[in-house]
């Protein structure tokens, strides 16, 4: 494999990870959505590039799906949700930015430490891709934990999905079916969350989940 193939795939994967960090760092809802759109775009590019390297045309379809759904449709829809609901634009974070970022770096370190020893005999590209993908998944989870706002949590969930797709495209010979399923899962989740939002909003006049916790009597 020529080194330029490796270099570009490496670069794209890393940019996806960087975007995950940007998601963790952002505080405003609209920027969070923008960063997510950017992450999905880069993911689409990564998928297309993998399709070219592995000579696997189905990956182009994956790229197209990621681009259309995650980079365009969902962000636009979420923006409309924000406008429609007229919710406040800044998100409450449960943890300060500093500790969150330190936690993020520790998670990346952890995933590298996990992936490297168990994959000594695969190519450098695959092991790196897996390490990156696992990091993105963990960071997505972290984003979900540290956001109090429902939209922030949805974005964190979908960023986690992006990590799964990143892992899937990096492994040669993964059939299209899986990716279709992933795409559908996201769509379903999106629809469910959409309905969910409207219900919460109707009940409580806010998307802040603390209100829900109050309702369940968890907070004293």
């Amino acid at each position: 494999m020529p080194s330029i193939h490796y270099d570009i795939a490496h670069m794209l994967g890393a940019v996806v990870l960087l975007m995950s960090f940007a998601l963790l760092y952002q505080r405003r809802l609209s920027s969070i959505i923008q960063v997510f759109a950017a992450q999905s775009t880069v993911l689409a590019a990564a998928a297309a590039w993998q399709g070219y390297i592995q000579d696997a045309p189905h990956l182009y379809i994956t790229a197209l799906l990621a681009l259309s759904m995650k980079a365009i449709v969902i962000p636009v829809a979420l923006n409309r949700v924000i406008q429609k609901l007229r919710i406040e634009r800044t998100v409450d974070t449960a943890l300060g930015v500093g500790p969150t970022m330190i936690a993020g770096v520790s998670l990346v370190t952890l995933s590298i430490l996990l992936v490297l020893p168990v994959t000594p005999d695969v190519t450098a590209l695959t092991r790196e891709d897996l390490a990156l993908a696992l990091s993105v998944v963990l960071l997505g989870l972290l984003t979900m934990i540290t956001r109090r706002n429902a939209i922030g949590q949805v974005i964190g969930f979908m960023s986690l999905e992006n990590g799964l797709i990143l892992a899937a495209i990096g492994v040669e010979g993964m059939p299209l079916i899986v990716e279709m399923l992933v795409a559908f899962a996201v769509m379903v989740a999106f629809i469910i969350f959409g309905i969910f939002f409207f219900h919460i909003r109707e009940r409580f006049d806010t998307l802040d989940l603390r209100t829900l916790e109050d309702f369940r009597g968890e907070r004293r």
């Binding site: 500093g98 500790p99 430490l113």
Partner: protein, 669 residues
Amino acid sequence: MAFISLCILAMLVLATVGAARPWFSHAHEVVHAGMALTCGAAAVAVLARLAANDSGVETLTLPIGLPWLHANLRLDALSAIFLLAVNLGGCLAAVFGWSYARHDAEPGRVLPVFPLFIAAMNLVLVADDAFVFLAAWEFMSLSSWLLVLATHREDETRRAAYVYLVMASFGTACLLLGFGILAGASGDYGFAAIRAHQLEPVPASFAVLLVLLGAGSKAGLVPLHVWLPLAHPAAPSHISALMSGVMTKVAIYGLMRVLFDLIGQPLWWWGAVLAVIGAVTAVVGVLHALMQDDIKKLLAYSTVENIGVIVIGLGLALVFKASGVPALAALAMTAAMLHVLNHSLFKSILFFSAGSILTATGERDLNQLGGLIHRMPATALFCLIGAAAISSLPPLNGFVAEWMLFQAVLNGPLLEQWELKIGFAVIGALLALSTALAAACFVRFYGIAFLGRARSARAEQAREVDPVMLTAIAVPAVLCLVIGVLPKLAISLIEPVNRLSVGEGMFDAGGHGGWVWLAPASAFGNSYSGFMMFMTILILTILAVYMIHRYASNRVRRSIPWGCGFTDPAPLGQYSASSFAQPIRRVFVSQLFGARDIVDMPAPGETRPARFELELRDPAWDWLFTPVVKLVGWIADKVDHLQFLTIRRYLTLMFLALVTLLVLVAVSQ
């Protein structure tokens, strides 16, 4: 060896002279002059030995102690380098104390114990069996405890002494158990026997853990550091310098004697644990130092930081030694040993300066000082050198050790374990953070105490201290500069230690580079030259001064300060110690230590003053010590019931204990 023993004997004689003070009018002079000479002679003797690159070993058996158990003493390179640090520090402290201790209210409390303290430290360093080692160690603890109690009339001192006593006993107990494991079933406590005895990994690890707890509590490793900033500042300043600059090094010696000598081939993770503890200690120590307003407390916390840096070096050396790369281990070890010497030098400067400030103004609170550079110019100059050196600025000595330590960290990728590779990066980041914070800390210390305008009347009326005290500050300041500019001089002294502890010298692999360049082969071709840097800066500065004064302007006019047009007549409008630390407090400390600023601002029209309070908590107290104290209290409550039993019940207890023991014996056979 015999000479060192004579020196220790001389110190003990001086201690009796000190005890005879009520009947002997010149005791003060005799003790201090005698200590200065004795320590100086001992330092010169070991210096000559190290400079001759002598890796030999001298032993001596004294017929003291139990009839079948003589005291074994031994002098090798590792002992020698620490003897150098101890006796150099002791000599300087004696000179400083000659003048300083005259101002003491109760000199009789310090005079007999001061020689005893230094003698005990010397004895720890030459001990060759666990009995002598532990006895000397305990002597060292108790004599320093007495020195802490010298100003026992203050409440805070009594608390400090109490905490110190508890921690010292805990430390000695751990060491005792550790040596017990090291000696094994044969029970031979001579170091030669322990060295010959190879332990299995599990008991060896337990021994390492116990020694780490024992020596670490003396050295002030986090989280066992809590006694140190209480106890060190409570003693008179020259004793504080000894405790901070020297006694902590004796603890480091104990750690090294076990880890690099007695235990044989180490396991890699011991080094990793050591390095991580060191990194945490460095950062926590310097953050605490940044928050202190009391100059001696600040310096004590800074000692915690520097001990952390030394322990990072030892940890890296241990990892490299265990991984079979002795050249790199030698690099890290040299950095750690150089930092041991450096720290005893600049900590002496800084504690002596604090003592001078205390003599001149009677104040220890930074917020009452200011502007001392005008009134104490010589102290200010030497203290500036000390502050710059401890902040690791080139071309001074602190930077040389820092540079070598970073070179060692940069070699982390050569190791096999993934944890170590990544861990080295993190340790490097923490080390860099602590260095940068140390610079901030000493800008604060120096800027608030010596610069600006006087914040109190006593600071306004300060006078320069006498020449004897100044000499004691000047000598280490000059040494800091010399070691910084020509580091090879000090590093050549460390080579025998490297051969003894890691099996190879730093320059054994080549890359000598003459006396100007510091270019060890293990630092992959990187080089540094304090001499060239110093000369270039000197030449360029002279050039710049000459050119500007010759061709541009050299006129000066004095005027009132500009201050953007805001002339504030009251010196209280200056930045204070707490306000200087505020940005760093907000960024680093508020989440870590739960620091809170409490501002009480009266409403307009109210006549009470505005108040500002700062609340700081040490997590080590909250999470470790308070629960332990509670637990001990609870157990004591329960055990208390035992005092009120009938005789029949006491007999029952004894009987049960006897039966249990017999059952144990039966089962274990």
